[in-house]
Symmetry: C2
Subunit: 366 residues, 2 copies
């Protein structure tokens, strides 16, 4: 992006805030020279830290907030008591039009709850989801939901598929991404009722995607599909299991090299190749999960990340701001409005559809 | 084990059967010289293959079966139509007392369904589960359920905890294993109703374990607990996601080394260290999942494994036969009979408890 834009930051969210937030913003500012940051947090601490970050001088504004939403705050508590917090104010800045997007490394549940309350879900979206990229054998895969909704019905899963496919088209430049539903087997009879029903709905849809049916856990890293759709419970466990396994492998590797003098000598030569592997699987590289399905750009950074990871999360927000993901999601929802309306009216004929009229669904994609 | 014992093998189950079953049995026979194998399958094919396996000569008996349960057979179909299959006959041999345990690389759902029908669950166990070991930073962790039961209630999860703890005590020699419930956060409010209820039940129990509460996906590889308890859907996805991630890491590593001449040179020295890492994370090493909670030893091998992997699955069966896991599970169930009876009677006062009377629960462990 060349035009100037502002991103609001919850400077107090995360395990190492506000230090890594400022350092991350400084790194991001070098990468995005037209970025301006609106920092919400403890003014005195932020001013002191800011002195060390030359790259941010003149490119950020500090807004004092006295309250911080901690990691153990329940979403309902955050909603009731969090109005003066750095997180709330940072989200509010997007709603007010002061910022084009917000990044926080704070409490995920609270961030989603406040963002839903302030920004509202997109028309036609029942449950916004947490969406991120995964490294795979073939490149990258989009995965959602990573933890916003523990229990999902078929309709939620179908909405995730729509949003995930739009994310892949927008962010990875895929014309017709392939989409799979994460299950315990590829046969049609496998899994929960919600999965089987979503499978039927997606098979019959006219969406801009190749629906690949059910996939399994090992298909994520294989890159079998461009978009992996799952409920937030399973997605969160899969994400963290993959992170844990990658770390374990890296540790085993380091321990094996340390244990042998010959290996240490060999590693002098193999180090750049090894560094390349570590870079490809570096969790910081994939830091920054988008909350898709909201009327605005909200990016969640891992709570324990460092400045490099936080800068990458800011990068996700910049990408989302510069490309128009939300209007693409609205277009796709319109395209599938007809079949979903039908499903709605079967369930409850009195509920009017929240999506666009069917005529729009027939219109070609712009 | 020094005394002779017989293991029945479903010689036709799995992607590379019967070849790898015979080769695997031959490898296992070298490791366990008092083992005898009862092979169920196509007699003509097995006799031909047997000629190449010198280690098996005189140590196996072939029983002809004409029917094979394929990978896409539904459990209900297998129950109705599978009576003449190699899988059914192999399980039946344990029930008849001809064999001390059975190993199959065939259809998991069919194997569990037939085993439950023929062997019956242990008294006090509602749902048998699939249980296996995972490599971790600290050694090994027991995980269950890996796919037998997609939907589980609190009582099922508590039974898994009991069986997993007994498995860890029996197989890994831990006096008081730590047990965690896999969830999307460690706070008590996280997760599904079943998880929260199981958490309460385990907190109040008098079982021989250290209950650690909720754990997350990355805790599996960290080795945070000795036993990871989860429903079969989540467990299956986590298992396959971990396998996929480990394979991806290994592939990235190989690709990086191939891409550089210097790295290739360095690898000449580092190769043994690297081989050590590959061995530690080799899926074949962890092949062989036990069906816990049945009145008999049933081990499921990965369908795509090779002879080394199949031999390891036979090794799991041998371990299970030589140590008396099932009586330890019965003991633990008796220990917790009182609190579970209470829970039962609250739910339905007319249902008599299937577990031992409370007096037994108070008796010290033998």
């Amino acid at each position: 992006m060349s035009a100037a834009f502002t991103i609001s930051l919850d400077a107090m969210g995360g395990d190492h805030a506000p230090e890594i937030v400022l350092k991350g913003a400084a790194l991001a500012r070098v990468r995005y020279p037209s970025a301006h940051f609106l920092l919400f947090g403890d003014e005195a601490r932020l001013n002191t830290l800011l002195k060390a970050e030359k790259a941010l001088a003149g490119h950020c504004t500090i807004r004092h907030t006295g309250h911080v939403i901690t990691g153990d705050t329940k979403p309902s508590q955050a909603i009731r008591q969090g109005r003066q917090s750095s997180m709330w104010k940072a989200i509010d800045a997007v709603k007010n039009g002061e910022a084009a997007g917000v990044v926080s490394a704070g409490n995920t549940g609270a961030l989603m709850a406040i963002a839903k309350l302030i920004m509202r879900p997109l028309p036609g979206i029942d449950r916004p989801a947490i969406c991120s990229l995964f490294p795979t054998r073939l490149g990258e895969t989009v995965m959602l939901d990573l933890g916003a909704n523990s229990l999902c019905d078929a309709r939620n899963l179908v909405e995730f598929a729509v949003m995930g496919a739009c994310f892949a088209r927008t962010m990875l430049g895929m014309a017709r991404p392939s989409v799979g539903l994460l299950n315990v087997g590829s046969e049609e009879v496998k899994g929960t009722d919600a999965l089987r029903e979503a499978n039927q709905m997606l098979r019959g849809s006219r969406l801009e995607m190749e629906f690949a049916g059910f996939i399994e856990g090992d298909d994520i890293a294989k890159g079998t599909v461009d978009v992996v759709v799952t409920d937030g419970f399973t997605g969160n466990v899969a994400l963290k299991t993959a992170e844990g396994t990658a770390k374990l492998f890296a540790e085993f590797l380091k321990a094996a090299i340390r244990s042998s003098l010959l290996a240490k000598f060999g590693m002098l030569f193999a180090k750049p190749a090894l560094a390349q592997v570590m870079a490809r699987t570096d969790a910081r590289r994939y830091n920054g999960a988008l909350f898709v399905g909201l009327n605005g750009v909200v990016v969640k950074s891992h709570g324990g990340t460092d400045a490099v990871g936080f800068a990458n999360a800011i990068g996700v927000a910049v990408d989302m701001i510069s490309r128009d993901l939300n209007s693409k999601i609205a277009e796709e929802l319109a395209r599938m409005a007809a079949p979903l309306e039908q499903a709605d009216s079967e369930a409850d004929p009195s509920t009017p559809s929240k999506t666009e009229p069917t005529a729009v669904a027939e219109a070609p994609t712009q």
